[in-house]
């Protein structure tokens, strides 16, 4: 509308340009003051919401870092915990315990989660009532509080039919059940996102349904599936409540093993330190939070790297 050109000198053109400029303003009209205020106010409200959310999160992280950073040293990772010497106490059994448990969770959720998603998307007949029941309940399961899974683990895995006892493997199974719905939902979305034209093109070439699945659909949906796995790991690492229920003992001084003996995990150990009265232990807990975040970041980075690698393939 507004230009930097000089107004033309010759009469007819000048009239035409003036008419065009005037016309272009009057055709569309001006916006009302209310509209203009709204268009400034609404983004401001959204920014406020964002700021509040981030401030809460940031304050937690800042507290952890401020308290825990001075305490960070190699002892944290390599030393066993101690109730008497907070200056040299460490998180070693907890770190090992967390790594073992999460490794077990990954081994369980990838085949089970992806397999369930493939069945639901590719093979299940949507009309059947039991398939619809499954669909409905996966969404529900994703929202069940984690303590319920702790009770489930105690009743059926640690004791009950499986009777595995208070070992790290029990924790893996329990946490895997907890995060499995997340993986199934994410994998289903990823598989659904592959366009039907790709499937048709593959089948029209004489490929079987399994070949189409394994060579076209699954490779194309791998990034989405990995995202689901990343989300699942992130949740499982931080869950303390179910671990407390199924016997992640809060004070373990020896290195754990997967299939026998006691174990602990980072969230539990942090809790153990945080409730002690001495200030030094609370600093230790804060340092533990930093360690836990570092472990989480490490695992997530690996999964993101893996996802990027598959995305670049094509």
């Amino acid at each position: 509308m507004v230009t930097n050109e000089k107004t033309p000198r010759t009469g007819r053109t000048r009239l035409a340009v003036a008419g065009a400029r005037a016309g272009s303003v009057s055709v569309f009209g001006k916006s009302s003051p209310g509209e203009r205020a709204g268009s400034v106010l609404f983004p401001a409200v959204l920014l406020l919401a964002l700021t509040l959310a981030l401030t809460g999160l940031a304050s937690l992280l800042v507290w952890s870092f401020v308290k825990g950073y001075p305490r960070l040293d190699a002892n944290l990772i390599f030393n066993a915990p101690s109730t008497l010497f907070p200056a040299t106490a460490g998180f070693r059994p907890a770190i090992l315990g967390t790594l073992y448990i999460i490794a077990g969770v990954i081994v369980l959720i990838v085949p089970l989660g992806v397999g369930a998603a493939i069945y639901l998307e590719e093979y299940a007949n949507r009309e059947r009532w039991y398939n619809r029941l499954i669909e409905l309940n996966i969404q529900n399961l994703a929202g069940v509080p984690s303590i319920v899974f702790g009770i489930l683990g105690l009743a059926f895995i640690v004791r009950g039919p499986l009777d595995l006892g208070f070992i790290a493997a029990s924790a893996s199974i329990t946490l895997a059940l907890l995060v499995l719905p997340t993986v199934i939902l994410a994998a289903r979305e990823a598989i659904r996102a592959v366009p039907p034209s790709i499937r048709e093109g593959s089948l029209a070439l004489g490929a079987t349904q399994w070949q189409t699945l394994s060579r076209q659909v699954l490779p194309a949906s791998t990034p989405g599936i990995l995202t689901g796995v990343i989300l699942a790991i992130s949740r499982a690492i931080g869950e303390a409540a179910p671990l407390l229920m199924i016997g992640a003992v809060t004070f373990v001084m020896f290195d754990p093993s997967f299939f026998s003996g006691g174990y602990t995990a980072l969230p539990v150990q942090i809790y153990n330190y945080a409730v002690r009265p001495q200030e030094e232990f609370r600093n230790l807990a804060a340092a533990g939070i930093i360690v836990m975040l570092a472990v989480l970041l490490l695992m997530n980075s690996f999964a993101v790297w893996l996802r990027n690698r598959y995305e670049q393939r094509w």
Partner: protein, 283 residues
Amino acid sequence: MDESGAPAIQVAPSELHTHGHIEHRKKVFELNKVSVYYGDTKAVSDVSLDIYHRNITALIGPSGCGKSTLLRSLNRMNDLIPGARVEGEVFYHESNLYDRKVNPVQVRKLIGMVFQKPNPFPKSIYENVAFGPKSLGMKDDMDDIVEQALRDAALWDEVKDRLHTNAYGMSGGQQQRLCIARAIATQPEVILMDEPCSALDPVSTGKIEDLMVELKRNYSIVIVTHNMQQAARVSDMTALLMVELDSDEHNRWGEVIEYDDTNKIFTNPRDPRTDQYVSGRIG
């Protein structure tokens, strides 16, 4: 392409009667009162016609008259649609495609398909063309197969230096030619094309029409097109389908109005509706 245990598909020349005189033209398909239903709705009604070897057969007609449905029944792609069923017989050489013992996967190895919107896989050009032969277990040198297929699809010169780049980096016309290369890499006998040029510009369309005439030397082609001039340009035989209403005017389905040499359809058709359609007065 025969695997042990699968029913062998017989090839034999056959006689046919057209317009009262006998011709010895080899048939590829013999459709016998073929009707296609989606659930309870009839989409295509009572089609009986023969498709000849190494001809280009065009199915023309207005939108929604069942041309694509009929085409897809030739390689059992309608099986993918829940509730779709085919009555009648579709003989591919001497074997009924819809016999209970026939495996649709085997059918599609011999009868390939190219779709309206180019649908290359999200892989490299090489992997796209190699996918069919690899899935079928062809043991020959894959590089040779890929090169031969791309040459036959008139695409080799344009992509030979970037075989391992993403297929989506090509233009629409190139992508469609890639889909054709992909289909012929498995050495089918028949290529079905469902409006292959309708998503392309006129220059790409011309290239693909030239390609079809070349491919006719080795493959039998059945093409659905809503472009009458295209049918007149490239095809040997043309079938006109139109929508017919049944007696109480509630149900509509597609029927073959006339099927004959392309020349006759466009210059001297028997049915007045054909004359009206090809001259643009209806449809």
